[in-house]
Amino acid sequence: MKKTSWFVAIATTLGFAFLYIPIISLIIYSFNKSKLVTVWGGFSVKWYGKLFSDPQILGAAWISLKIAFMSASLALVLGTLASFVLVRFRRFIGKNLLGGMITAPLVMPDVIIGLSLLLLFVAMEATLGWPAGRGLTTIIIAHTTFCMAYVAVVVQSRLVDMDESLEEAALDLGARPVRVFMDVTLPAISPALVSGWLLSFTLSLDDLVIASFVSGPGASTLPMVIFSKVRLGVSPDINALATIIIVLVAIGVIIASTQMKPKKSS
């Protein structure tokens, strides 16, 4: 391998330190007995206890998990269809439109997506009578819309890399296109489907801005509760919550990366 200079190596180390110091400090201070950030009052898990006895946080977490599960599943279906159509279909009316619309939500500022969907829901309720009021359904629709863009990015790159002779062979042997898609294409892109779903799940779980716009009374998601708490300053039970999320995600990512490697090499 090419040698890289000391400057590059040091800059890279500092960059990774910058990425990880905040995360590490969250984890350390979640075990701090003292409420003050700078004072180490000894090891304690009392903030975890406080977290699990807070009905507001637990309720919001349950709502967020339901929304994330529904949105990720819907986004997986819609995003996979969109990328299959874009990669495998030669030409059709609206191909450019679909290609543009599927990537735009990736960079569109959240405030614009949130405001525009809210205004749409209000206008639809006034003219069609649906959706009646705002809450879980409207949040799920909003999250599905921006999550399917992420699914499409992941699945599209996998479809492009995939060996098309497999699909071709199945079609030559007389399988119907739907069968080929179910039995050949889907298994071949399954790692992308898994990571697309997981990515959507975490993005939905994490969204504050869009949910705040399209939510209604009684549907406060976890980020909305966290935001209203941390706006007032540091609260150690949020550190405990962050630590739980970070540990779960790290375990998930490590399992996913060890699961996917053998498939790549074979």
């Binding site: 391998m1 090419k2 200079s5 400057f7 590059v8 190596a9 800059a11 890279t12 960059g15 910058f18 990425l19 905040p22 995360i23 400090s25 969250l26 950030v37 700078t38 819609l78 995003g79 269809l81 159509v85 495998r88 279909f89 030669r90 059709f92 609206g94 439109l97 679909l98 619309m101 599927i102 735009a104 939500p105 960079v107 500022p109 959240d110 405001l115 525009s116 205004l119 599905t144 819309t145 399917m148 098309e164 071709e168 079609l171 296109p177 739907v178 504050l208 801005v209 966290i226 941390v230 540091v234 949020i238 550190n239 962050a242 999320i245 970070i246 995600v249 790290a250 990512v253 990366s257």
Partner: protein, 307 residues
């Protein structure tokens, strides 16, 4: 040719099934992504009223059966006349530009190192870049409050080392906003740069060295020009969302941190002025058209290069 023949076989899907497969994602996005922009544009010409919903109708049925269209341009006039809005747009663009530049400077060496190191280390480092992206963005921004505040981690270290005697005020300043933005968007810059740099042909670097160029010259004459598509893609992935960023200025910035995402939020949630918020959004969209086109060009250029 194989791709063509597979494509033509998939064309044999019954016309009905094919149309359905295309229509479902296409119409979902038309209804829930494209049409909403039209609704925003429409309501930006309405007048704010105290009602449910809090805006005036554009079309009014007249007594003689005709239809009157009432366009209310006041929202846009206000954007120009009240200096708050222009200042907010200007400072959002400035913050987005500066933080894109800082992210580029921080990310470039990292992407370069990851692209040049051996494969095992590369996979681990790439995972470390992506991992923070999977954990809660809100909580990672929140982590900086504990680090930067007056009795926070940084001030504690600085004072115990005797570098400063007074705690530095970092929270609720633009400095904190920059730190938060660069921190949050760094992976978006590293990944496109890495994708570009990993394809860099080693023989070009060797040729440059053989011709007597020193590493610095080689970098500026060979590596940097070849990585322009990656730089553009990464920069736009940071710049565009940062212009409309709300969470970071709301949590880390102070009352004088003026960003248009925050202005839109306040118009909507505190003033309940939906038409004004819509006008703010429409102007923001217009400002972002050019960067979005740049991003699309950079992305299609890189996908053509790889195929």
């Amino acid at each position: 040719m194989t791709s063509l023949s597979v494509q033509s076989i998939f064309q044999r899907l019954s016309r009905y099934g094919r149309t359905l497969v295309i229509a479902v994602p296409l119409w979902w996005l038309i209804v829930f992504f494209l049409i909403p922009f039209g609704v925003v544009a429409k309501i930006s010409f309405a007048e704010a009223v105290i009602a449910r919903p809090p805006y005036s109708p554009l079309l009014e049925w007249m007594e003689d059966g005709g239809v009157a269209i009432k366009l209310f341009f006041e929202n846009y006039v206000r954007l120009i006349e009240e200096s708050l809005y222009i200042k907010a747009y200007w400072s959002s663009i400035k913050v987005a530009f500066v933080s894109t530049l800082i992210s580029l400077l921080v990310a470039y060496p990292m992407a370069y190192y990851i692209a040049r190191t051996n494969e095992r280390r590369r996979n681990v480092l790439l995972m470390l870049i992506i991992l923070p992206f999977w954990t809660s963005f809100l909580l990672r921004v929140y982590a900086w409050i504990g680090i930067l505040k007056t009795n926070g981690v940084v001030n504690h270290i600085l004072m115990s080392l005797g570098i400063t005697s007074e705690p530095l005020v970092m929270m609720q300043t633009n400095f904190a906003v920059y730190v938060g933005i660069v921190y949050t968007y760094l992976p978006f810059m590293v990944l496109p740069l890495f994708t570009n740099l990993v394809k860099l042909d080693n023989s070009l670097l060797e040729a440059s060295a053989d011709l007597g160029a020193n590493p610095v010259t080689t970098f500026f004459r060979v590596t940097l020009p070849l990585s322009v598509p990656g730089i553009i893609a990464g920069s736009m992935l940071v710049f565009i969302p940062v212009v409309g960023e709300f969470v970071i200025p709301a949590l880390l910035g102070g009352p004088d941190t003026l960003m248009i995402g925050k202005v839109l939020w306040n118009e909507f949630f505190y003033n309940r002025d939906w038409p004004a918020a819509s006008a703010v959004a429409i102007v923001m969209l217009i400002l972002l058209v050019v960067p979005i086109m740049l991003l699309r060009n950079a992305q299609s250029a890189s996908s053509e290069a790889s195929s």
